[in-house]
């Protein structure tokens, strides 16, 4: 039975990747007991992770997989396309979900009222299905639909923090307004591309659009797509929704979203920018050089400075995320294989870093109920494992050697120096020094200040520490042995730029 099952399931992995979490979501809503819902959700995320690993292995071995949904061949049907780039993003998204879920049980019990658990896990799985769908689909309009599935559930996840802090509600509202404008801009851009090319299939678009480099409609579509996706991925001046959304969402939601949702938007931007538009000269190439590049540099510095001034540590890390997204956009703005490799590498590495840091904060939230600089005073001795995880995550964020943060910054700087742009390399180093300051603020409070009189705090439970440390050790593992991740990132970058090795 099993021997016959596996070969018959293998060809359908691309659709199972999305459909399994999507169908599981409403089932969560129907279940009653919190533990059962949690166990079920965990199994689904693990199944999704296994699927994405199998897909990554298959693409690295055999190249691109194209799956026609319902047997309808494109251009009529929607197809799913898996290549090295999105297989890697699928692994990031489902992998983070699989690590966050075991962590979620205690954290959700503490932060969300019991009658909302089913809804919370439903929204979580829908968000996961949406993010995986955005990544895997080969149809431009389908990207929009999945983007909205993930976004709508994200707004609900953020608003679920209202039990802890009412600011979660206004954060969710702002995110909803800006996210919807972003998605609508995206769909306007897609409509204009359809107008001039008559297709929505991304592979077909990538064959027809480059011939229309000087078409005005294509230029407008490009502008709408870049701004729309810029809103979704929080490029510097469009980042205003992000700090509050990450700061006041429940810990589980923050850890998952910070590690995945903006990354998926980055992936869509990469896909459209380099596969569809191929900005080699003129208006579109200038957008990279004169819009994205300066904004990325400003983000790296300004958001880091803003992070230094934060008192709430989740908010501090959220501003740091804006700065880190600056690094990713910087690599995209180079437009070279080296730059894109660094970007994709940081996509993966930043997911590990922020996942670990926000999960450590989730442990603090559970035990202390306060994630401000006041709340973590003296925790270095009271919660040694949690704070050690935070310190290693923080070192990785700064980019200390032997951590993943170092690997991505190294590649970014090498890419900058390769083009002779040493001032950019200097800004990267400068921004890392700013990261030292804001990470140090937390370390100083946790290790050098005394705990408040009479506060008794126990170490976080193992069910939360183990997932946190899995990500922390991944930070070190992929920081020491980066060959595999660099190889995947380079394959992905060359695939996007259509450079043959």
């Amino acid at each position: 039975m099993t021997a016959g099952l596996i070969p018959s399931v293998m060809p359908h992995l691309p659709i199972l990747q999305v459909v399994v979490p999507m169908l599981a979501a409403p089932l969560c809503f129907l279940m009653r007991r919190g533990t059962v819902i949690w166990g079920f959700t965990t199994l689904v995320t693990w199944a999704a992770f296994a699927t994405s690993l199998a897909l990554l292995q298959a693409t690295l071995a055999d190249g691109t997989i194209r799956y026609e949904i319902g047997g309808w061949a494109p251009p009529w049907g929607i197809e799913y396309v898996v290549d090295a780039t999105n297989a890697a993003v699928l692994v990031i998204v489902s992998g983070i979900a699989a690590v966050v879920m075991p962590f979620a049980r205690r954290s959700v019990e503490a932060e969300i009222p019991a009658n909302q658990h089913g809804l919370f896990y439903t929204a979580f799985l829908l968000c996961l299905a949406g993010l995986l769908g955005v990544t895997i689909t080969g149809d431009a309009f389908n990207v929009f639909v999945f983007l909205e599935i993930s976004s709508l559930s994200t707004y609900a996840l953020v608003a679920a923090g209202a039990g802890m802090d009412r600011r979660a509600l206004s954060a969710a509202y702002n995110y909803l307004i800006l996210g919807t404008i972003g998605a609508t801009f995206f769909v306007i851009g897609v409509g204009m591309l359809y107008m001039v090319t008559g297709t929505l299939n991304i592979v077909d678009l990538s064959e027809r659009v480059p011939a229309l480099q000087d078409n005005r409609t294509v230029h407008v579509a490009f502008a709408f797509l870049v701004v729309g996706l810029g809103l979704k991925l929080a490029v510097f001046p469009l980042h205003t929704w992000l700090p509050n959304a990450y700061a006041y969402a429940p810990s589980v939601a923050t850890a998952f979203l910070a590690a995945t949702s903006t990354k998926v938007s980055v992936y869509v931007l990469l896909r459209f920018l380099f596969m569809v538009f191929e900005p080699n000269y003129g208006f579109m190439a200038m957008t990279l050089d004169y819009v994205l590049l300066p904004l990325a540099l400003v983000a790296m510095v300004a958001a880091s400075v803003a992070a230094i001034h934060q008192y709430n540590i989740k908010r501090l890390l959220a501003y740091s995320s804006v700065a880190q997204l600056g690094y990713i956009v910087l690599g995209i703005a180079y437009g070279s294989v080296a730059g894109l490799t660094a970007s994709i590498l940081h996509l993966f590495n930043h997911a590990l870093i922020k996942g670990a840091l926000f999960m450590a904060l989730g442990c603090v939230m559970l035990r202390v109920g306060d994630v401000t600089l006041r709340g973590v005073r003296g925790l270095g001795r009271q919660m040694p494992w949690t704070m050690a995880a935070f310190v290693i995550g923080g070192l990785s964020l700064i980019g200390v050697p032997l951590t993943v943060g170092f690997i991505s910054k190294w590649h970014l700087i090498v890419a900058a120096l390769g083009d002779g742009r040493w001032p950019i390399a200097a800004v990267i180093v400068g921004s890392s020094l700013l990261a030292v300051i804001y990470v140090w603020k937390v370390v100083e409070a946790a290790y050098l200040q005394d705990a408040p009189e009479g506060r008794v705090v126990r170490e976080a439970p193992l069910s939360m520490l183990v997932p946190t440390w899995v990500l922390v050790l991944a930070n070190i593992w992929f920081g020491v042995d980066a060959d595999f991740t660099v190889e995947v990132a380079r394959t992905a970058a060359m695939g996007l730029l259509r450079v043959t090795p």
Partner: protein, 129 residues
């Protein structure tokens, strides 16, 4: 000039609607009005898709066996999906506004901002939750 205005009148309607919607979202402080603005903005995009599918002299795409020109049905179908998305967004947005009203006792943006400034300051002073 006249041709530019009359010949492409559908685009002018779309642009006016789009800017009206965006302006309401940006300029209004009332959270419900912002969502209405968002709706106007999204509606302009629906019209954009529908009007780009129109083929001059084309009829509804129903196969009758006769030789006819048809309008392109695909954008119409796409926009059905987008309308569903828009309704879901509106519903969720309004639900959040209801919760905001319960938590802050107002739906005016500037008053909420003022209260959040106070919240942020009391974070630092060590207010017990």
């Amino acid at each position: 000039m006249l041709e530019l205005i009359l010949g492409k009148y559908n685009y002018w309607i779309i642009v006016v609607l789009m800017m009206t919607g965006l302006y309401i979202v940006v300029a209004r402080g009332n959270l419900v009005k912002k969502i209405i603005g968002l709706n106007v903005f999204q509606t302009s995009v629906f019209l954009f898709y529908i009007s780009l599918a129109k083929v001059t002299g084309g009829t509804a795409p129903i196969l009758t066996g006769k030789d006819e020109t048809f309008s392109n049905p695909l954008p119409h179908v796409l926009i059905l999906t987008a309308i569903v998305v828009s309704i879901a967004t509106t519903a969720l947005g309004l639900a959040i506004v209801v919760r905001i009203r319960e938590a802050y006792d107002t739906i005016e943006e500037d008053e909420i901002h003022e209260m959040e400034r106070v919240d942020l300051a009391s974070d630092r002073e060590g207010r017990e939750p």
